[in-house]
Amino acid sequence: MEKDININFFKPVGEFMTRDVKMKKLIIVIWGVATYGFLLLLKLVADPEATVEVTLSTGEVVTQVSGKSFLTETQFLGFPFHYWYSAQFCILLFIFLCWWYCKFIDKLEAEFSSK
């Protein structure tokens, strides 16, 4: 049978690529949830009473929630929690994800080169 050489992220071919892609998906999901899931959470739990007026670039002035919630009013290491999360924890998480992936792929490569 002729080998399938069509590369598609969602239809990996070859054992190496299959396992590699599985790990990549996991990391991308964690990355997405940690960054944008948190943003969504901030918006969802925001106190509907606490509003501010924001002038948009179109010149229109709108009233929206300021985002005040237990996430912003809890102190962690002195920080408002969400501030700490974005300014410090996210970066730490990104480094960890990169480190994790490098460890994984090095091991996978070693496994395949010894085969």
């Binding site: 670039s57 970066i91 490098c102």
Partner: protein, 536 residues
């Protein structure tokens, strides 16, 4: 002969730079010269040029790819300083100072992109084994037109990106030497050109490592003193400033509840969640699509090194990114607490923070010198990327395939000079804040190179026609968002700093549709991709 020309030219630039500087100081006293900062700055510039001289490029391979002899940590430091520019060092703190949590999108966006870069691209690009980003595009998409277009885009991205850096250099030279902004830009151009011309990429790589050390030391050291002066936990100011953020929003440590400014920390007080998202994702995708960052993966001998380099690079970047918001918070605090007598400029807030805290002048001098180093290392890398796109991808690959090494080098040098001077002209009237100009360069990278690399690597069905159409659509969106009237609805949903929010999905969809409508790539292209993905 060649060497003489090269030395002569470099010497000329140094002299021009020196002369302009001397004349300006003799004629009108534009402002005071800050003595310690000036000495520090000059010694750093001399150091950079010396490092360039001693690690000079021997041939073309050296000039472009640094002999592929850069280690993991070394490569990481080079990535970090090449990529961390005046936007990270000066601009980011300025925007956080102005917009509080809304500007946190810059911090998260400019670090999170590395995860994508590592997972989706680094290893595969290194395995493909080319010199430059247009080289990859030209080969993967088997098309001279695609190569040519991507080379032009590389030059354009380098150009826009560098304008922001020149603004940073200009502002800092202006602060240090008291010469006016325009002169500062000219002096800066002279020095940058001198050392790029002498050293090429190898010198630039060595220099980037030296510059990284300078950046980190100058950036972190003053923080301890500012924190201690303002009465915050100063052993680890990166944690101590948390209380500062709290006090700015709630009052405390001399700030009354009445003067407190909650908009500094509240997430949606200055902007909408949509805009936070749009900016953040643009910067992330842009990081994964910047040609001069992608180019650095070719510099290491092994695929594994290319990946570990990303981890180290991100760590080196994080040291600065954990600290940048401190400057914004400390400056904001002093400002609300009513310190006067300092002229504040958002793009110089890092330097202003030290002044506001009442520290001796040499702390600010430290920061100003570090800001210039950050800008220098990036401009060096950008000029290299831009000129190699011109000399290697356009001149050698397309115009004169049988050009000699010597004529390639010559074209690269001429390209560097033309690019360097052209940037200086635009930087005379900078159109926006440093971080915003830089964000435009990132949008451009995200709208063009990111989809091209993503689909090129991960979908072997992508055709050359798709790449060409994709680049056209990407550039149209980037420029459309810049030219759209500021108050229009289009500019509201697709701001010029965040155009990838529309650009990337649009370009990817277009590329997929066009690919399916055109003739499938040959089996060789697919075979090569298969090998890139399966370590056999």
């Amino acid at each position: 002969m060649k060497r003489m020309l090269q030395w002569g030219l470099s010497l000329y630039f140094v002299m021009v730079a020196g002369n302009v500087f001397a004349k300006e100081n003799l004629s009108v006293n534009v402002g005071e010269v800050r003595v310690f900062p000036a000495i520090l700055m000059i010694s750093l510039l001399v150091l950079f040029i010396l490092v360039g001289v001693f690690s000079k490029a021997k041939d073309t391979e050296d000039y472009w790819a640094a002999g592929r002899g850069v280690g993991q940590l070394g490569g990481g430091m080079a990535i970090a300083s090449n990529w961390m520019s005046a936007a990270s060092y000066l601009g980011m703190a300025g925007l956080i100072y102005l917009k509080g949590y809304s500007a946190m999108a810059y911090i998260v966006g400019w670090t999170g992109g590395y995860v994508l870069l590592l997972v989706l691209m680094a290893g595969q690009i290194r395995r493909y084994g080319k010199y430059t980003a247009p080289d990859f595009v030209g080969d993967r998409y088997y098309s001279t037109a695609a190569r040519l277009m991507s080379a032009l885009i590389v030059i354009l991205i380098s150009f826009v990106y560098a304008v922001g850096q020149y603004k940073g250099i200009g502002m800092m030279f202006n602060w240090i030497f008291g010469i006016n902004y325009e002169m500062s830009v000219i002096v800066g151009t002279g020095v940058v050109l001198a050392y790029v011309l002498i050293s090429g990429m190898l010198g630039a790589t060595k220099n980037m490592q030296v510059q990284y050390v300078v950046i980190v030391i100058t950036f972190l050291l003053p923080l301890f003193f500012i924190a201690s002066k303002l009465g915050y936990f100063s052993a680890v100011p990166q944690i101590g400033y948390g209380a500062t953020v709290w006090d700015i929003g709630h009052g405390g440590n001399g700030i009354t509840a009445a003067t407190a400014d909650p908009s500094f920390y509240l997430p949606f007080a200055n902007n909408t969640a949509y805009h936070w998202f749009a900016l953040c994702i643009t910067l992330m995708l842009g990081t994964a699509g910047l040609p001069h960052v992608i180019g650095r993966f070719y510099l290491v001998p092994r695929v594994s090194d290319a990946r570990w380099q990303v981890v180290w690079g991100l760590f080196c970047i994080a040291l600065v990114y954990w600290s940048a918001p401190c400057f914004a918070a400390f400056a904001k605090f002093s400002n609300i607490a009513g310190v006067t007598g300092v002229t504040i400029s958002p793009d110089a807030i890092v330097v202003n923070a030290a002044e506001l805290a009442g520290l001796p002048q040499w702390f600010s001098g430290f920061l100003a010198a570090g800001g210039v180093s950050a800008a220098f290392s990036t401009v060096g890398g950008l000029l290299m990327a831009g000129s190699s796109a011109f000399a290697h991808d356009i001149y050698f690959r397309v115009l004169r395939p049988n050009a000699t090494e010597e004529s390639k080098m010559k074209v690269a040098r001429i390209g560097t000079i033309v690019l360097g001077v052209a940037i200086a002209v635009i930087a005379m009237n900078p159109p926006a804040f440093i971080a915003q100009i830089t964000a435009v360069a990132f949008s451009m990278g995200a709208n063009t190179f990111f989809p091209m690399f993503l689909l090129g690597i991960w979908w072997s069905r992508t055709t050359k026609e798709a790449a060409i159409v994709g680049m056209i659509v990407g550039m149209t969106v980037t420029f459309g968002s810049m030219l759209a009237p500021k108050t229009s609805l289009f500019a509201y949903y697709v701001p010029f700093t965040s155009s990838a929010i529309l650009g990337v999905p649009l370009v990817i969809t277009t590329m997929i549709i066009v690919s399916l409508m055109t003739k499938e790539p040959s089996a060789e292209i697919k075979e090569l991709l298969y090998r890139v993905h399966n370590d056999e």
